[in-house]
Symmetry: C3
């Protein structure tokens, strides 16, 4: 049976994370010419029913770096069979004939799970609407570990729309496995849903909920910024009232610890001033690169496990 | 001079079919690592002026499995030169500079022939509007042979819009070369055009035209289902009156011979109940996989002939 | 520091041109199987914020011919991060994590320069609105040299919208380095801007400005035709008044020297009658092929320099 990657709470325990991260770290150090070719003669299909250039290019470079083959549906909205009324299940069974694995982005929550039910090859969820985006959480945690050398014992600030942020929800599930202090930095109306709060607490994390970050900035080892996504709001006024609540500028960064790091899943709009990019604590573009290595490690694991 | 694949009645005689099918069968059995690399250093261009994800991905996996290179125009409607007023001939001559072969889908009947007139590299017609789609017919016939071990002597039921079905018209031309019994299962208004009927008869096929499939179901060795395509009807009422005439459910399948097979070019809408998929007679997803092997055999033949 | 290719006046002096053209000529003669693999394990990203199928496919074949890897954003308008409000700088820094070089087409003048400011990998400008398209000029000059064996001493006719033609402006800058006679063949309202005229003159070129080509046709060694681009005109009447001024038919070609050559950057609309294609002087499809070799030489130079 195939192993799918649908949700971050599936089987990403500390042991598997350690294994994947060790491999990602290997990949980050090897010259490409010395890479193994474990995926030679395997074909990965990237099937994007909704565009996500960043995630798609990351997987596409990853599979090629491992010497695998690639087929792409870039222009998701135009997927011709879907337009003709084909079910998602039939589309997946068809691509099963061409590919050994499928990376799928879809606008509907649950689409990845639905695909995995029929697929005989691994499905990797690259985002299903307001659902999950597990490989983003994998690379976020990896970035923390790479930059700080550990996860246990850290104080981590999560900033932005914690209510709706898919990225935040996935990351929180991973962090719950570690001994961490979490600062939940958001307006009250956008705080973390109760179920994730409960999960963190039941695993022994120390939690601080704050709607003003002035005091938190100096205490965190990791500041994880996110974009407030307009498309998640019912009323545009709610969005406008809140969108500029947490803008990171050099002035704020000056309050942070010297060895702290700043992460962001990107794309950013205005929530991090580009003047911050030059600060050595800004690690968000390094984080993008880490995504490549983590995805290489994951693909190798899925196909060679 | 280049050999193009425009129409099924070109040169696909029994000898060539036997040769291609033997090779397709080889490809279906070999582990990919043991494939020959006959198309190394050759570039295939897939140029889709109209989207067809299924056909495109099939060719793209095929060329890569044979170690060839790939360039793609996925987003046909946006073909930038065509938008600037370039003729199809100039587009083809331009792509001749980059590719050793061109797989083309185009919305207009005759476009493939028009392209072949100027192209110095092989053109493979991947569908030209209401015209032809020869590689679909090649894989359909291959699927019959693979599943049943032969073609001569079989009873084959063709179901759906036999009047407008491009796939049906191409398949009928191939079947005419064999000793077969054909059940043409369709409403009277959607029966097979006279010219194809004449072709079948002049080649000695036994023909039964029926508008009710109850009696035919128990007699066929192959049931070839097709979608009734809304876009081929002038009046939507005609479409609605007919579209649910032939819906295959487990109840119908129960009437079929035990060793019969069910094929469908896909995508399906509602004409085969997904409950049928579990029946061992359902071979339509195997048929998709066969398409990959047949296209590999065809590409190898075209470039190495 | 990376070397970017933004503008033709950067560093393409006669020495570098000679070096690139020698290499392009090598590539044109070698069987692909004997090509070196200098770009193995390098990834090129083709990122088209505006479609340009011809240029994209040319680079994509080039990188694969050199054994490099390829990631593509074909559907520029849909670039998902840009839609979410991401800056061009962030997009480029992100792609830096995946690719070793970026070929970019963008609708805005100056976009390539803006990208190069932040990119740690080479940016190749594949057209920035009304700005430049340097690799087109490189292949145009190469085509002249290949067909005529030299550039110095030639009489070259430039035809069309010399005022707005991006291609013309880039080519003129290259030609200014050689001892040439230039016929500027255009309606008065579409003549070459003063700054390019000055550049040509200060480098010693002999210039003839003519609005009727009857006398020039017999004198030129190279006739460089261009399309009058509707989208560059403020008023459609101005476009209509001018668009058919210079249509090349066999009747005009008959007035040309026997060894003259006809070039065109393509796509053409109606400015060269297809009846001219059969004339041995018509070299515009050979020019397309030359584009492939020149881009291979340029990619090798940029990555291996």
């Amino acid at each position: 049976m195939s192993v799918h990657v649908i949700s971050i709470d599936q089987y990403f325990d500390k042991d598997l994370l350690a294994k994947l991260y060790k491999r990602a770290n290997d990949f980050s150090k090897l010259p490409l010419a010395d890479y193994p070719k474990p995926l030679q003669h395997l074909t990965l299909a990237t099937v994007f029913f909704e565009p996500s250039t960043r995630t798609r290019l990351s997987f596409e470079t990853a599979i090629q770096n491992l010497s695998g083959q690639l087929i792409t549906v870039e222009n998701a909205g135009d997927f011709s069979s879907a337009k003709k009324g084909e079910s998602l299940e039939d589309t997946i069974l068809t691509i099963n004939a061409y590919a050994d694995g499928i990376v799928m982005r879809h606008p509907q929550i649950g689409a990845a799970k639905q695909a995995a039910k029929v697929s005989r090859v691994p499905i990797i969820n690259a985002g299903d609407g307001g659902g999950e985006h597990p490989t983003q959480a994998l690379l976020d945690l990896y970035s923390i570990q790479q930059c700080r050398g550990k996860i246990d014992g850290l104080s981590i600030g999560l900033v932005g729309d914690l209510l709706n942020g898919r990225t935040i929800h996935s990351l929180v599930q991973l962090l719950a496995q570690y001994h961490v202090t979490i600062y939940l930095i958001a307006p009250d109306s956008l705080q973390l849903p109760a179920k994730y709060l409960k999960l963190l607490k039941s695993n022994g994390a120390t939690i601080h909920q704050v709607d003003n970050w002035d005091k938190a900035l100096g205490k965190v080892d990791v500041l994880y910024m996110t974009r407030v996504q307009k498309e998640r709001f019912k009323f545009v006024e709610d969005y406008l009232a809140i969108k500029d609540s947490f803008i990171l500028t050099p002035k704020q960064v000056a309050k942070m610890k010297k060895e702290a790091i700043i992460l962001h899943p990107l794309p950013r709009v205005n929530e991090i001033d580009p003047a911050v990019d030059q600060d050595p604590r800004a690690k968000y573009f390094e984080q993008v690169k880490n995504g490549l290595y983590v995805r290489m490690a994951l693909l190798e694991y899925l196909f060679k496990h």
